[in-house]
C-alpha cells in the first residue's frame, strides 16, 4: 500500500507537469483532513477514470488571456487564472523602422521617423526598443522580458532590468521585473545586441507573488548591419557639395607658390571629407603624414609640420585648419561632429600633420551626412632653398566607435 501511495503522488505530479494549461483534480481525493467530493465541471471539462484514479479537468471562468478570445468564442479557464496578472502584449519591438513606428511612448523623433531617426542610417545594430501593451494590468504591474535568437528553442536569455542587456537565466532575478514606465522611460530598453541578427522577445506580467502571467505572443525584429561611409574630395572653399575622384592632390604652386621668407599661403583647394556612421560611440577621424611636413628630395629640406601659429614672426611650417563642419542634427540622438582643438584655429593657426597619428575630428554618436572642409596652409622660412618638389602625403582614417 505504501508503494501504491508513492505511485499515486508521482503520477499526479507528472500529469501536472505535462499538461500545465489544464488543471487536474482527483475525484474524491483523500488526505488526512480533507476530501473533495462531487466535483463538477463546466462545459469543456470532464472526468477521467482509471481503476485507481480519477481526474477532473475544468475550463474555468473568464480568461485573462487575450489569445483565448475571438469574435464569436471565448475559452474559459480555471478559476485560479483570475489571480494571475493579465497576459501582456507587445506594443512594438523595433530596430530598423524608417519613417514610421508602432511605438507610442518613445521620443518624438522615434514617433516621427522610426528607429532610424534615433539610431542613424540603417537603424540600430546593437540595440532595440520595445513597448508594452499592459492589457488590464494596473500601472504597478511588473514585466519581465525574455529574448531569443531562435524563437525560444535553445537560445533563451532575459533582459537585465538595470543594464538592459541580455543576461542568462542564472543571473535573472526579481530585479529584472520592471514596470511599464521604467521599461519605456529607457529609450533603448534592449542593448548589447549583435548586429544583423533576428531577435525574438516576449513578456510576462507579475502583480504579486505567484501571479506571473503566461508569456505574451513573441515579437521579432532584426538588428541592422550597421552603416558606415567615408570619402575624400578636393574642391575650393565653395565646394561644399563637390564630389571628386582620386587621386587627390593639392598644390602650392603658381599663384600660391611658397616664397621663402614670405607670409603664410593657403592652398586654393581644400580637402573635404564625407562622414556617415551609425556607430553608437561616434567616430574618430585620424590624420598623419608621410614626412611630417613638406619635404623636398632635391634639397633634402623639410618644412616641418606642427601645431602652431604661422603668423608669428619668422614662423615656418605646414598644417591643417578645419574650415567647415556640417552634419544632420535633426535628431538629438544623432552625434555632433567637432574638430579637435589643434585643428580649430582661426586665421593662420594650424594643426600639425606629423608622422604620428592625431585625431582631427571627433563624433560623439551616430553621424549622419557629415561633411568637413580642411584648409591646407604653409609658410616657408628664409632658410628654405627654392625647389619645386616639396611634397607631403596626408593619410585620413575613419575609425567608427561601436
Amino acid at each position: 500500500m505504501k508503494s501504491a501511495n508513492i505511485f499515486k503522488t508521482v503520477s499526479l505530479l507528472l500529469i501536472i507537469v505535462l499538461s500545465s494549461t489544464v488543471y487536474v483534480f482527483a475525484e474524491d481525493l483523500d488526505s488526512t483532513n480533507y476530501k473533495i467530493v462531487g466535483a463538477k465541471t463546466a462545459t469543456g471539462g470532464g472526468l477521467g477514470d482509471s481503476t485507481n484514479y480519477s481526474v477532473i479537468s475544468s475550463l474555468g471562468k473568464v480568461s485573462a488571456d487575450p489569445r483565448n478570445y475571438s469574435t464569436n468564442y471565448r475559452l474559459y479557464q480555471d478559476p485560479s487564472a483570475a489571480f494571475l496578472a493579465a497576459q501582456p502584449t507587445l506594443q512594438c519591438f523595433e530596430t530598423t523602422t524608417n519613417g514610421s513606428t508602432a511605438c507610442t511612448s518613445g521620443p518624438q523623433e522615434l514617433l516621427d521617423g522610426g528607429m532610424v531617426a534615433i539610431c542613424g542610417t540603417g537603424g540600430c545594430y546593437d540595440k532595440a526598443r520595445f513597448e508594452i501593451s499592459a492589457s488590464s494590468n494596473p500601472s504597478d504591474t511588473l514585466y519581465g522580458v525574455q529574448i531569443s535568437t531562435d524563437n525560444f528553442v535553445n537560445n533563451i536569455q532575459y533582459i537585465d532590468g538595470s543594464t538592459f542587456r541580455p543576461e542568462s537565466y542564472a543571473n535573472h532575478n526579481i530585479n529584472d521585473y520592471r514596470t511599464e514606465s521604467v521599461w519605456e522611460t529607457e529609450v533603448f530598453n534592449i542593448q548589447g545586441l549583435s548586429a544583423n541578427t533576428q531577435y525574438y522577445i516576449r513578456l510576462t506580467a507579475l502583480h504579486g507573488d505567484f501571479t506571473e502571467s503566461d508569456y505574451s505572443i513573441a515579437a521579432n525584429a532584426t538588428t541592422s548591419t550597421g552603416s558606415i561611409f567615408f570619402d575624400i574630395d578636393i574642391a575650393i572653399s565653395t565646394g561644399i557639395t563637390t564630389e571628386s575622384t582620386p587621386p587627390y592632390s593639392v598644390s602650392f604652386s603658381s599663384g600660391t607658390a611658397l616664397i621663402a621668407g614670405a607670409a603664410t599661403t593657403t592652398a586654393t583647394s581644400l580637402a573635404w571629407l564625407d562622414i556617415d556612421s551609425s556607430a553608437t560611440g561616434g567616430v574618430s577621424v585620424i590624420v598623419f603624414g608621410k614626412y611630417g611636413g613638406l619635404h623636398s628630395a632635391t634639397t633634402t629640406q623639410t618644412i616641418t609640420s606642427s601645431t602652431e601659429n604661422l603668423d608669428v614672426t619668422g614662423a615656418e611650417g605646414f598644417g591643417l585648419q578645419s574650415y567647415y563642419i556640417d552634419y544632420d542634427d535633426s535628431s538629438p540622438y544623432y552625434g555632433t561632429l567637432t574638430a579637435t582643438s589643434d585643428y580649430s584655429g582661426n586665421i593662420n593657426r594650424v594643426g600639425g600633420v606629423s608622422t604620428t597619428a592625431n585625431k582631427m575630428y571627433s563624433g560623439d554618436g551616430p553621424i549622419k551626412a557629415g561633411r568637413t572642409g580642411i584648409y591646407l596652409k604653409a609658410r616657408a622660412g628664409v632658410g628654405i632653398t627654392p625647389a619645386s618638389d616639396y611634397s607631403e602625403e596626408i593619410y585620413f582614417v575613419l575609425v567608427p566607435l561601436y
Binding site: 537565466y169 570619402d231 587627390y248 585620424i286 628654405i384 596626408i394
Partner: protein, 376 residues
C-alpha cells in the same frame, strides 16, 4: 491487474523526462555582446599589401562580462576576403597599448589599460581558404578581462612571417571580434570602411624671394657745347634690368630737378640764371627753328619682347624727346615689363638738349633721378 501496466506507463514517462534532461539540456548562454569596441586601422585604403605599405591595427575592447584569464581574442574577417587581411600567415607583433589616437576621452571607447597577459601575449594570423574559412588574427595568452574596462592592443607585421593588409575591395567589410575563455564568450560584429584612396598628396613649389636688379651705366653724361640758336646735342648711357623668376615684372621711372621750382631741364644756376626747360609732360621737339629745351628717350630693350617704353619717351622720332617733370611728385613711368626678366636687358637712355638764340652763355646742369622697382 491493471496496476502493473499503469506503473510501467508512469515509469516510462519518468524515464522519458529524465532522459530528456540529458538529451535536450536547457541552454544556459555565457555568450554576450561586447560593451564597446573599435578597430583602428592605420590605413583604410583598399589593398594595402603589407610590404611597401604596411598596416597596423589597434583594437580597443570592453567586454560585456568578465572573461577569465588564459583566454583569446580573435578577429574574424569576411569570407570573401580570404588572404587579404592575412597576407602571409604567421606570428604577428603584438603590443599591449594603453591609448590610441582614436580614443574618445571619457567614454567606453577610451582605452583604460593595456591588454593584460596571462603569460606572454602572442598573435598569429591565419589565411582563410575558400568558402567557410576566413582570415583570422588570434591573440593568445590574454589575461582576465573585466567588464567595464577598455583594453588596448596593437597588431603589426611579424618580424619574420606574419603580414597583414587590407582587402582589395573598397566599401564596407564586416569584422567579428570575439573574446573567449572557456565557455565564456563575448563577441561583436561590426563594419570597417575601406576607400580606394586614403591619401591627399600635397605638392609645393618654394620660390626664391622676388627681386629686381637695376643698374645705370654712368652717373654723368656730358652733352658738350650747345650753341645758342644751334642744333640739339645728345648724350647717352644705359639702364639695365634683371629680375628673379618669382618677380612679375619691373618698371623704371624718372624725374628731373631743373631750377628747383618751376620745371625740369638744364639749369644755369649762376648769374644770369637760365633754364633750358623740359617743358610740359608729354614730348618736346627740338628740331624746330630756334627751338629750346631738354628731354630724353629710351630704346626698347628687347624689341618684340615684353619690355615697353612709354610712348612719350620712345626713340622712334629723331629730335623728339620725352619731357621730364620736376621732383619726385613729377616722376613719370618711362619703361616697364609685366614679366620676370631672368637675364639682364638694357635700354639706352639718350638725352637731347638745344639752346635757343636767347640762351645765356654758361654751364648748365640737370640731375635726372631714376627709380627702378619690381612687380610682385
Amino acid at each position: 491487474m491493471r496496476k502493473p501496466s499503469i506503473f510501467k506507463f508512469v515509469l516510462a514517462i519518468v524515464l522519458f523526462c529524465s532522459l530528456s534532461l540529458f538529451i535536450f539540456p536547457s541552454f544556459k548562454s555565457n555568450a554576450g555582446a561586447l560593451a564597446a569596441v573599435y578597430l583602428y586601422l592605420s590605413r583604410i585604403e583598399a589593398n594595402v599589401a603589407g610590404s611597401a605599405e604596411t598596416l597596423e591595427i589597434v583594437l580597443a575592447i570592453d567586454t560585456g562580462q568578465t572573461i577569465p584569464a588564459a583566454g583569446t581574442i580573435t578577429l574574424y574577417f569576411p569570407d570573401a576576403d580570404d588572404g587579404m587581411w592575412c597576407r602571409t600567415a604567421g606570428a604577428l607583433t603584438v603590443t599591449a597599448v594603453d591609448s590610441s589616437p582614436a580614443d574618445e576621452t571619457g567614454t567606453n571607447w577610451d582605452i583604460d589599460v593595456a591588454l593584460p597577459s596571462s603569460g606572454t601575449l602572442a598573435a598569429t594570423c591565419v589565411k582563410g581558404s575558400g568558402a567557410g574559412t576566413v582570415d583570422t588574427i588570434t591573440i593568445t595568452n590574454v589575461g582576465a578581462l573585466t567588464a567595464g574596462t577598455t583594453y588596448g592592443v596593437k597588431l603589426a607585421n611579424g618580424s619574420t612571417a606574419g603580414v597583414i593588409g587590407t582587402d582589395d575591395t573598397a566599401g564596407e567589410h564586416e569584422i567579428t571580434v570575439e573574446a573567449k575563455s572557456g565557455a565564456t564568450i563575448d563577441s561583436s560584429t561590426f563594419k570597417v570602411y575601406l576607400i580606394a584612396n586614403d591619401t591627399v598628396v600635397v605638392s609645393a613649389t618654394v620660390s626664391s624671394v622676388p627681386s629686381v636688379n637695376c643698374s645705370i651705366s654712368s652717373n654723368t653724361v656730358n652733352l658738350g657745347s650747345l650753341y645758342p640758336g644751334g642744333s640739339y646735342a645728345t648724350g647717352t648711357h644705359t639702364i639695365t634690368t634683371s629680375t628673379s623668376t618669382t618677380t612679375a615684372g619691373y618698371y623704371w621711372a624718372a624725374y628731373g630737378e631743373g631750377d628747383g621750382s618751376t620745371d625740369a631741364g638744364l639749369y644755369k644756376s649762376t648769374a644770369t640764371t637760365d633754364l633750358l626747360a623740359s617743358t610740359g609732360s608729354a614730348t618736346i621737339v627740338l628740331t624746330g627753328v630756334d627751338s629750346e629745351g631738354f628731354g630724353m628717350t629710351l630704346s626698347d630693350p628687347d624689341a618684340a619682347g615684353a619690355a615697353t617704353v612709354v610712348a612719350d619717351f620712345s626713340d622712334a622720332s629723331p629730335g623728339t624727346f620725352g619731357a621730364l617733370d620736376r621732383a619726385p611728385a613729377g616722376a613719370q613711368l618711362i619703361l616697364y615689363q609685366n614679366a620676370n626678366q631672368s637675364s639682364g636687358e638694357s635700354s639706352t637712355v639718350t638725352y637731347g638738349a638745344r639752346a635757343a638764340s636767347s640762351a645765356q652763355a654758361g654751364s648748365y646742369q640737370e640731375s635726372v633721378t631714376f627709380v627702378c622697382g619690381g612687380y610682385y
